[in-house]
Symmetry: C2
DNA sequence: TTGTAAGCGTTATCAA
DNA sequence: TTGATAACGCTTACAA
């Protein structure tokens, strides 16, 4: 029922090979033959069967993107850019949600649909160091976000220590001296959380300012509700604080809501900073100061790096993606 | 290099067909043979080549999801649920972004990668009625969101007229009498916008309350910035209003920000309502009253409907997906 | 420049 | 219950 290469060849009065040549832009085809074939393709509305093609070539033109969840805005924004960049290179993107679980991340790495995917872009959360070394051999992989540095796998990320230190300095420069930390556990092997905490500590050390263990407010996850819960616990615990450093924007936005409920003014009483610069930061009350990674560059470079690998390029990319700290109302004014 | 069916057969000392039978759960296989084959599969870590399989069967287990953009939160939330539901049925989801453009929506319908996708779930914005009739023949399609009702294509949506009327009634019941409308153009053939406007008008008619042309504030698109811009224009035009009915939550959140800039209090001076119930509505200042469609049901039913079609079921689903109006602070208190 | 024919890894037909 | 063998639609040596 579907039109096949053979049908086109029959109509054009040439062999399948010739049709194939025309379709694949093989240069040594006479103009007249080409015209005949193209007419036949047009007339029959022929579309190559990609299954057959990739069975033959071993390439599919499909890449997988693995993120924790798409409804965490940051990942949706990154995914949007990845899909767009892939599209420009003629690649199609298959999206997998891992929930940040190690097992599911491993599945993405080893290819949910083996052979269906030429390569993988993964934003890992639960993966262990040894996992990465072991699995990433089969299909080319580009990791997004933080990562053990001695690995040979391509990865892209902002310098989290530096970014966290920069954000912390912003708070310290405004006279804040008791900066609470709302973040996810820092024990994981592959962990932006750990590095953000390190940056927080480094900034304090650089100015010789002490930080306080009791201002660590762990969050179970990276969502608004977790940020709000962390603040509630902190307020109830009674330790005073004049700023909150959050490991991402959703936590920070949840923190803003919780602080408001407790009658705490932001930024007058407490300043708040986050990470990711999701769209909402410019519209929250107050607007949110945050570390803004260049998401477009992150996505575009990830796709291009993968594409290069697929084309046999052996060169590893510079992992650094630029960022800036965008200062908004949540950190305005000195203490 | 890759392990093939043949290799397994060789090791197990049986034919390829037998291995294939075991893998596909064909019942008439002796226990001993099955065991032998399974051992060989295990030993070689055999994974079927899906390219070859789908070349043979004509099915890929991949479905496409077409949405305007993933960084519009509502679509990211729906996509998250679609991917999850598909996953449970063993389907993988390929995400396409259309930007709401007719041409790109057509491409999704006709299959970006023909043959790679068994079916399509599409949330159309720019599509015309005739497009739908013509293109949806090739691969099974489920449409998400509003849609011409006389079409034969499966579709799922909330009753937009009813939902809009319900939201408008909420505003009218609170004593609001000059309700501005922030929305996208209503001329499109496939248009939730038109129906939402119709619901707005119907609610007024039901109570014999007039509405005012000058309170129509068109937005170019469905984003925060568009909602803010619409409010700015409205305020500058000088026509008084005591409520804003927005075609989606992002517009409403943008409106909240703009109203705040103009020193207008919400809900005391102006009440605000939206559509979609994205996560942020529960955290904005004030929290946002909105039409909350059952997104999980929408996604799950879309996937199941498509799955049924792929299995040859001819039955069309009930297009209605339930919704509720969630009343929050942005409409609290009487005028 | 074009054609012939083999083969990618799987499933399906049929016979044993 | 199992096994040869022929497709599925395409690309690619190699030959013409």
């Amino acid at each position: 029922m579907a039109v096949r290469l053979k049908d086109v060849a029959l109509l054009a009065g040439v062999s399948v090979k010739t049709v194939s040549n025309v379709i694949n832009g093989y240069p040594h085809v006479s103009a007249t033959t080409r015209a005949k074939v193209e007419a036949a393709v047009e007339q029959l509305d022929y579309r190559p069967n990609l299954q057959a093609r990739s069975l033959r070539t071993g390439r599919t033109g499909v890449i997988a993107l693995g993120v924790p969840r798409l409804d965490e805005v940051y990942f949706a924004e990154v995914a949007a850019h990845v899909i767009e960049a892939a599209d420009r290179l003629g690649l199609t993107v298959l999206v997998e949600q891992t929930d940040g679980e190690r097992q599911r991340e491993l599945e993405v790495l080893s290819g949910i649909r083996p052979g269906l995917v030429d390569g993988v872009i993964l934003s890992p959360l639960g993966l262990l160091r040894e996992d990465i070394e072991q699995t990433a051999r089969r299909t080319p992989v580009v990791m997004l976000g933080e990562h053990v540095t001695d690995s040979t796998v391509d990865h892209l990320r902002i310098d989290n220590v530096k970014a966290a230190a920069r954000l912390t300095h912003t708070l310290l420069a405004a006279g804040r001296r008791r900066i609470a930390v709302v973040g996810t556990p820092t024990e994981r092997h592959v962990s932006a959380a750990r590095l953000r905490l390190a940056g927080y500590e480094r900034a304090h050390e650089e100015l010789g300012i002490p930080w306080h263990e009791e201002l660590w407010a762990p969050a179970a996850n990276y969502r608004r509700a977790d940020g709000a819960a962390a603040i509630h616990r902190l307020v109830e615990a009674g330790a005073p604080f004049d700023a909150v450093f959050c490991f991402n924007d959703l936590l920070a936005l949840g923190a803003l809501a919780a602080l408001r409920q407790h009658g705490v003014r932001v930024p007058e009483d407490v300043a708040v900073g986050g990470f990711d610069d999701i769209d909402e930061c410019a519209y929250s009350v107050p607007t949110l100061t945050t570390v803004s990674p260049d998401k477009v560059q992150l996505a575009v470079r990830a796709v291009h790096t993968l594409h290069a690998r697929l084309s046999g390029v052996e060169e590893s990319p510079d992992p650094d993606v630029p960022f800036v700290v965008v200062e908004r109302d949540s950190t305005a004014g000195d203490r």
